[in-house]
């Protein structure tokens, strides 16, 4: 058959078109509806979600399950002595026969006891400071292994919590007082008075306040390791210019001195008063309230006469009087919502006359030689003198599998000589009377440090970690917000009781 060129082209086009149409038809067959696509996508999404949850659950279980103790079954040979009764010539005779026999027994592999300690750092090189302490312990106790783990503070809280929950916590830890109370309340810590040689520890010359504050609900949960206290730092030049001779001894005197030195027109403020919750715990408010007899439950350390550690007396006349005094103090303070750091900056800029400080502020005096600073004890109130206090404790977790070794290690590191080694490196205050740190007794700022050491005995420790924000809010509302004192104290007391209850503390 003859075809013209045009006919050939047409045939070719037709064939191509047929091929394309076939392809399109074939593709249409494979095409899926939108409903089908969404349905499949949803199934994949749900499947993936379920898979993630299951995988996460399995991973969490594997990560948190307690370590398995593997027992080995061993076959050993041992000589056995046994008495056999035989008959010799018809007469029963007893002979002793020794023979070897093979016995099968279950045995736990012998493991050297190991003590693990977790601690947040107080020095730039805590492992380095602890190395000779651990070495000294091991030389006295070669059969005990020790692992000292320095955990950054921002991770330690979560590490301890997850460790307690999962059964993988360390044997012994350094715990700030507030953490110790929390874990004691959870029943996670060993009651130390139940351990042998506890009286030996108790008989050591510990300062009474840190020792007492190591107790919770009648049990001793920690051995004091170091202490923190707050005193009032004042600017001697500002005092002298205003003709003030002696620092104030009580709150009324503090107001009198404040009146004399307060001169906002010249940029001089008598008192440095930060706002917010952190201000409550380490600055004026808690010291003032305790000294008026206004207590919040779960406060420890120096007792308030006639008031129990778990009594709520904030919403009483004592609280009203205390906060009235606080409000009077605010009249002679700098204004603005300043943090502790910002108030400290103003003090070292020579603008503030008096401000409470923890001891870590003392080295700043060397950076500001133009400021002549002195310190005085927190003023006394109607029921006594109090200050913000805190101690660090060595506590043992009940989960330890080597209680004897751990207790031995805890006693060793809290012994006078070993405790001193750490305190010398950290510049923190001892919780016992028989440790003298040269820097604090003979150093450049020895007189200032001695006031801090004296203040340790006035310390009262509160569970600010759970209700501190509430107290800070109360302080702000009353002094800066102009709120009614009585009703604000009542609201705060109710909120605190609710928080304590919700936190699982049984008073």
């Amino acid at each position: 058959m003859d075809l013209t060129i045009n006919e050939s082209k047409q045939n070719l086009n037709t064939t191509l078109m047929m091929g394309i149409n076939e392809k399109v038809r074939s593709m249409n067959k494979n095409k899926i509806s939108r409903r089908e696509a969404l349905s499949t996508a949803a199934k994949v999404a749900i499947g993936s979600g379920v898979a993630i949850v299951v995988a996460g659950g399995v991973a969490a279980y594997l990560a948190t399950r307690p370590p398995q103790v593997v027992e080995k079954i061993v076959t050993i040979e041992k000589p056995v002595e046994r008495t056999v009764v035989t008959t010799v010539a018809g007469v029963p005779t007893t002979v002793i026969e020794t023979r070897r026999e093979t016995v099968v027994q279950t045995a736990t592999p012998t493991v050297r006891p190991k003590v693990t300690m977790w601690k947040g750092p107080h020095t730039p090189d805590d492992p380095g400071v602890y190395a000779p302490i651990v070495q000294a312990f091991k030389s006295q106790n070669p059969d005990i292994d020790v692992e000292f783990v320095s955990v950054p503070w921002d991770q330690l809280s979560a590490k301890l919590a997850s460790g307690v929950a999962s059964g993988t916590v360390c044997d012994v830890a350094y715990l700030p007082s507030v953490w110790m109370y929390q874990y004691a309340n959870q029943g996670a810590l060993v009651e130390l008075e139940t351990l042998p040689n506890f009286n030996e520890v108790k008989s050591q010359p510990y300062k009474s306040t840190p020792w007492r504050a190591g107790q919770f609900m009648g049990h001793q949960y920690g051995i004091p390791y170091l202490s923190v206290a707050v005193v009032v730092m004042y600017n001697k030049d500002i005092f002298e210019k205003a003709g003030v001779g002696q620092p104030p001894k009580n709150w009324e005197e503090l107001i009198e001195v404040a009146k004399q030195i307060h001169s906002p027109d010249k940029g001089i403020y008598a008192l440095g008063m930060p706002l917010g919750w952190e201000a409550y715990v380490t600055h004026w408010c808690s010291s003032l309230l305790y000294s008026y007899g206004a207590n919040v439950p779960l406060s420890f350390g120096k007792p308030i006469p006639g008031v129990g550690d778990n009594d709520m007396t904030l919403n009483t006349d004592a609280g009203v009087e205390g906060m009235t005094m606080m409000k009077r103090m605010w009249e002679y303070s700098q204004k603005g919502k300043l943090t502790r750091g910002e108030v400290t900056d103003l003090f070292f800029a020579g603008k503030i006359g008096m401000v409470p400080h923890e001891s870590f502020t003392v080295p700043l005096l060397d950076k500001h030689p133009e400021i002549r600073a002195g310190v005085f004890q927190m003023p006394e109130g109607p029921v006594g003198r109090y200050t913000y206090g805190e101690s660090g404790y060595i506590s043992i977790f009940k989960q330890t599998k080597n209680l004897d070794a751990t207790w031995k290690f805890a006693r060793f590191i809290t012994s006078r000589d070993q405790n001193k080694k750490y305190l010398e490196a950290s510049y923190l205050f001892p919780a016992r009377d028989d440790i003298e740190i040269e820097e604090f007794t003979k150093g450049k700022h020895a007189d200032i440090y001695q006031e801090y050491i004296k203040a340790v005995e006035h310390g009262r420790y509160s569970m600010y970690s759970i209700y501190g924000e509430e107290l800070g809010r109360m302080q702000d509302d009353i002094i800066a917000g102009g709120a009614d004192i009585k009703s604000t104290l009542q609201r705060t007391a109710e909120n605190i009781m609710m928080i304590i209850k919700a936190s699982g503390f049984k008073l």
């Binding site: 499949t40 979600g49 993630i52 959870q186 917010g276 603005g336 809010r473 509302d477 919700a502 936190s503």
Partner: protein, 279 residues
């Protein structure tokens, strides 16, 4: 069908896992925890049914946070719409000064709120900062602190919103402007009858996003005032954080988060509906 499933698994699997893992699972877990009393790691969640939800409606602190955030949003919303819109319209050209102004305005958006918050704390300091010259105490005052925080958030986000408006303006056909000019329309008339109506989708986006972001504000409050003085700048999201990490009340914090999610969704939906109706 099997090959199709495998195809979908390959294409949808990773993103579905990502979304499920990071979005849906936490939301579902959050709702689950909202029916429990839970102190966090180390304690067991206890089922309490609707107890947290009932407590929430009589919680004066939660109501206070809603009041605070209402003041915050009502202050910042007009600012983040009007000021960036004005800047975008004024500095939309490609001349040197417009470029400089646009660069300066976007500058704060490039920095972390933590850095800027610290800077603004110093600005607001009534004793040594610039505010001391004016003898005003903005963030130490219960009445003004929330506005001080809102201004910091506005200052940071202003450049972002300006660029949103610039993108919207850039998508308008220039022929409309040219014909309006030929017809003798003034600049104000051009803005009123061309730019503004055609920017409605951008406006809807800006208003809705500004509402969602600012109802959920946290970082400027955390850095500048930490919720204080008192609770005068405590916002709902900060309250969630405060409940969870200060009171260790994860269950109740989850309840607040669920209610906040619902409130945000309702407000964002209303905003979008209003703009859709306008179209």
């Amino acid at each position: 069908m099997r090959s199709k499933f495998i195809t979908y698994l390959i294409f949808f699997g990773p993103i579905s896992s990502f979304i499920s893992g990071l979005l849906f699972v936490p939301i579902i877990a959050n709702i689950w925890y909202s029916f429990h009393r839970w102190q966090g790691v180390g304690s067991e969640p206890i089922f309490v049914g609707l107890e947290n939800y009932i407590a929430l409606f009589s919680d004066s602190d939660f109501l206070l946070t809603l009041f605070n955030v209402a003041r915050y949003v009502s202050f910042i919303l007009p600012l983040v719409v009007l000021v960036p819109l004005f800047l975008a319209v004024t500095f939309q050209q490609d001349d040197k000064w417009s470029k400089i102004v646009r660069s300066v305005v976007i500058f704060p958006f490039a920095f972390s709120m933590v850095v800027e918050g610290v800077l603004w704390r110093w600005v607001y300091q009534p004793h040594v900062g610039p505010a001391s010259l004016l003898k005003i105490d903005i963030i130490g005052n219960y009445a003004t602190a929330i506005y001080g925080v809102a201004f910091v958030a506005f200052w940071q986000a202003m450049g972002f919103y300006m660029y949103m408006f610039l993108a919207g303006i850039g998508s308008i056909d220039t022929a409309l402007y040219e014909s309006a000019k030929i017809d003798g329309a003034s600049s104000l008339q051009i803005f009123r009858y061309i730019t503004l109506p055609l920017l409605k989708p951008t406006l809807a986006f800006v208003v809705t996003m500004a509402l969602i972001w600012n109802i959920q504000t946290f970082d400027p409050v955390f850095v500048v005032t930490h919720g204080g003085p008192g609770f005068s700048t405590l916002t709902p999201v900060f309250y969630v954080y405060w409940l969870a990490f200060n009171r260790q009340d994860i269950g109740y914090a989850s309840t607040v988060a669920v209610i906040l999610l619902i409130i945000t969704l309702i407000i964002a939906s209303i905003s979008l509906k209003l703009f859709q109706r306008g179209e």
